[in-house]
C-alpha cells in the first residue's frame, strides 16, 4: 500500500508501543518496511495522542494537521472474525484521500469525533510512567503496583492494562488477558472503538 501511494507524496510511520526494542524487532524485521518504523518504549505517543488501544491510526495532512482522528484499522483481514472490521474499507478511503480524489472530513467533524483525555486518563499515564521507570531500574514489584493502579484509573486503556502485562510476567495473549477482555465486554464495553464513518 505504501509502495503504491508513495509517489503521491505520502508517508507511513509505524510506532510500536512496546516494552523494549527487542520485543518489537521480530515484527519489524519480518515486515521489512521502507517507511520509518519507530519504537516507543515510554508511551510517548499514547500520551500525546490519547491512544488507548492498538492498532490506532490517524491521518495527518501536508500542513501537519490531524484530518482523521484516532481510528481503528487493520492492514489485513486476519482479525476480521474477531473485530468485524474490514481492511479494504479503510484502504479505499485512504487511497482516495492520498490521490486527491476525496477530501478528508471537515475540521468540525474531526473535532467532534476526537476523544480527549480526562484527568483520570492523565493520572493513569503518570502512574504508568512511574511504573515504567521502576521497571527499567529492575524494581519490578514496585513497578507492577503502579501498572495495576494505572489500569484501575483508566480501565478502557489497553495500552496500559494489556501493554504492561509483559512487564508483570503475564502473557498478553493468555488466559489472564482473555479473562480481562471477557469481563470488559460482558459489562457492555467495546474493546475496539472505530469511528462511525
Amino acid at each position: 500500500m505504501y509502495e503504491e501511494l508513495r509517489g503521491y507524496g505520502f508517508t507511513v510511520i509505524t510506532v510500536a508501543i512496546d516494552r523494549s526494542v527487542e520485543d518489537a524487532r521480530p515484527w519489524i524485521e519480518a515486515a521489512k518496511p521502507t517507511h520509518p518504523a519507530l519504537i516507543d518504549t515510554a508511551h510517548v505517543l499514547t500520551d500525546l495522542y490519547n491512544i488507548v488501544n492498538v492498532p490506532t491510526i490517524l491521518w495527518i495532512d501536508e500542513r501537519g494537521r490531524i484530518v482523521r482522528p484516532n481510528d481503528v484499522a487493520f492492514g489485513t483481514d486476519i482479525f476480521k472474525h474477531i473485530t468485524g472490521l474490514e481492511a479494504a474499507r479503510h484502504l479505499a478511503a485512504l487511497r482516495a484521500w492520498v490521490r486527491g480524489e476525496a477530501t478528508a472530513m471537515p475540521e468540525a467533524r474531526a473535532r467532534a469525533l476526537q476523544s480527549l483525555p480526562t484527568d483520570g486518563d492523565q493520572q493513569a499515564r503518570a502512574e504508568l510512567g512511574l511504573g515504567e521507570w521502576l521497571y527499567t531500574m529492575g524494581r519490578t514489584e514496585a513497578a507492577a503496583r503502579h501498572f495495576v493502579r494505572a489500569g484501575e484509573l483508566a480501565p478502557h486503556d489497553f495500552t496500559i492494562r494489556r501493554g504492561t502485562m509483559p512487564m508483570r510476567g503475564i502473557d498478553p495473549m493468555g488466559p489472564k488477558f482473555r479473562e480481562m477482555l471477557g469481563a470488559w465486554v460482558q459489562a457492555g464495553n467495546p474493546y475496539y472503538r472505530p469511528l462511525p464513518e
Binding site: Y8, G9, F10, T11, V12, I13, T14, V15, A16, I17, D18, V21, A24, W27, I28, P36, A37, L38, I39, D40, L45, T46, D47, L48, Y49, I51, V54, P55, T56, I57, L58, W59, I60, D61, E62, R63, G64, R65, I66, L94, V98, E107, R111, L116, D119, D121, Q122, Q123, R125, A126, G129, L130, W133, L134, R139, A142, H146, R149, R162, M165
Partner: protein, 94 residues
C-alpha cells in the same frame, strides 16, 4: 546524616534531588494541576502532563510532534515529514 535522595521524573528528564526538595517539587506540580504519581518507599515521583494541556493541543488539530528511534537507534521526528500526507499507525507486539 546526609539527607535521603529522591528521584524526580519530569518530561523524560530524570533528576536526583534531596528528599525535601523532591516532595516540594511534586507538591508544586500537583498544585499547578499536573498529575503526579509518587512511590514513597522507592522515593520517586513522576510528574505528568495535565488533561487540559493535552486536550487543548489535540483539539487544535495540530498533530503533536514527537521524536522516536527506529531499530538502529536513528531518531525520526514527525515534523520532518511536513509537506506529505501521512498515515500514523500505533501497534504493539502484545
Amino acid at each position: 546524616m546526609a539527607e535521603a535522595k529522591f528521584t524526580i521524573i519530569d518530561g523524560g528528564r530524570v533528576a536526583e534531588v534531596g528528599a525535601r526538595e523532591g516532595v516540594e517539587l511534586a507538591r508544586r506540580a500537583e498544585a499547578a494541576g499536573r498529575p503526579v504519581a509518587v512511590d514513597p518507599d522507592e522515593r520517586v515521583a513522576y510528574l505528568g502532563v495535565s488533561a487540559r494541556e493535552r486536550a487543548t493541543a489535540l483539539a487544535s488539530l495540530e498533530a503533536p510532534d514527537f521524536t522516536l528511534p527506529d531499530l538502529d537507534g536513528r531518531l525520526h521526528s514527525l515534523s520532518r515529514h511536513r509537506g506529505t500526507k501521512l498515515l500514523l499507525v500505533a501497534y504493539g507486539s502484545w
